[in-house]
Assembly symmetry: C2
Homo-oligomer: 138 residues x 2
DNA sequence: TCTTGAACCTCTAGTCACTAGAGATTGTAG
DNA sequence: CTACAATCTCTAGTGACTAGAGGTTCAAGA
């Protein structure tokens, strides 16, 4: 059995974040010492690793909740799990697409001014003021 | 002179968002009718277009504040403006990089399970539980 | 001129996933 | 036994809005 600080070190999840996950119902309520401090074991460690990994991949707390529920019912169909993963993938792809358009536009804008002139002549500011200067939708 | 609803229509920025921008100091306080309703003119329209365009490109409210201040002093050096644009570009590129790693990992994970089996055997859940299954850092 | 109802007003609270800080208590090494 | 680091709970703040309550104003049609 180890403390929340130890769990934090091992999983690289900050202490307040661990407490937050507990409050959100992602982590079961931890056992307590007589002095009311949380104590964890291997199960808690595994669960938190799962959560951290999923968060790193951008899954929402809500999605992780569903995934954990599934994990706790090994006999259930895992269709929901794959659905969640696929939809997360779609989400990520959508974001990449959008960011690439932004990148293109920002490159163009940045190139237009070297920062040596005055505000009045600045292509960055002009571009923002006038959408017509943009090369495409973004 | 036109109403906040009209401004909203023309800029495609929602009414509460316009009020929010005013509160944040991005938009000057609008003139009011005798009945306390906001009225805008061309200047307000241009300013809000600028803000919307910058937001679309992912600039923060704070960054936009700086850009607007510069815009209002046409004689000042525009170095800050280009700095902001360049740093926004770096930011976008960083995000793309990270999302591409996530994409790769999510593709791998999604492919591992067709959702037809049971939770116990699900590769999606197994992958999340065990980081070792990941092909690289993400 | 009057009436209706859409649009407007302010204010508070909620979103997401944490983060920060106050003030009090507990655990542990020396 | 004493320090003091770590823990506890609780509240509030972050960014950029969004939602809703409860009340007022504007403008078009009768």
């Amino acid at each position: 059995m180890f403390s929340i600080g130890e769990l934090s070190k091992r999983t690289k999840v900050k202490v307040p974040t661990i407490r937050y996950y507990e409050e959100m119902g992602l982590l079961a309520e931890a056992e307590r010492t007589s002095g009311n401090q949380r104590r964890y074991d291997k199960t808690g460690l595994e669960r938190l690793s799962f959560i951290r990994h999923a968060r790193d991949l951008g899954f929402s707390i809500e999605a992780i909740s569903s995934l954990i529920e599934l994990q706790e019912h090994p006999d259930r169909s895992c269709e929901t799990a794959t659905d969640i993963a696929v939809s997360q993938l779609a989400d990520v792809r959508e974001k990449i697409k959008r960011l690439k358009l932004l990148e293109k536009e920002l490159i163009r804008i940045s190139k237009g001014c070297d920062g040596q002139g005055i505000s009045e002549d600045c292509y960055v500011l002009a571009s923002l003021a006038d959408h017509e200067l943009c090369s495409r939708e973004h």
